[in-house]
Symmetry: C2
Subunit: 116 residues, 2 copies
Amino acid sequence: MARALIDDEPSVEDLHFPRVLEVIADPIRLSIVAQLAAAEADISCGNFDLPVKASTATHHFTALRQGGVIHQYYVGTSRMNVLREADLEQAFPGFLPSVIAGARSGGEHETGRSHR
Amino acid sequence: MARALIDDEPSVEDLHFPRVLEVIADPIRLSIVAQLAAAEADISCGNFDLPVKASTATHHFTALRQGGVIHQYYVGTSRMNVLREADLEQAFPGFLPSVIAGARSGGEHETGRSHR
């Protein structure tokens, strides 16, 4: 099926570290990043385990996209999410892997990943 | 001269990644961290280059201390600041170096480090 990228995102050259850091530091957004990192495939917005309602989650996905942390694209009517791992690694080497490792080691219970 | 540590800080075992990330993500606090990382010695609160007044800066230093990112101690009447680099490396390997590198590469102009 055709993919339609939502294209209001910064290019890798325009990634701005303080912005990326602030975007990723929110606990809900950190949980989204951790879930994407742990997944074996892209995830649609409705298939994350988040302790907020859908409209709030949409706001967080938008912040991640506009900050340059994820791509979003449509497959049919599903909005899919994928981490920009290669872009972030190119711009800020080692940052994303250390954040993902940190999120795993020290704070899963506060980032919405508990089983409900 | 004797050092008096301000001791309302978490031990390395109690460092909590989402908290550390949120504390460090504020642009003023990121600038404080970057300046400490670039310095060859501990820095007193009055000797940072920050675009905020002293009382606001004090609030940011306290957040960094209570989040576990810096130690603060008195030498006489000067409150000194030092990055907890070894503690953070032990708890979250690679995180602080990647943040320092990112702050250098992508956002100096927005983190208060410009010469005034």
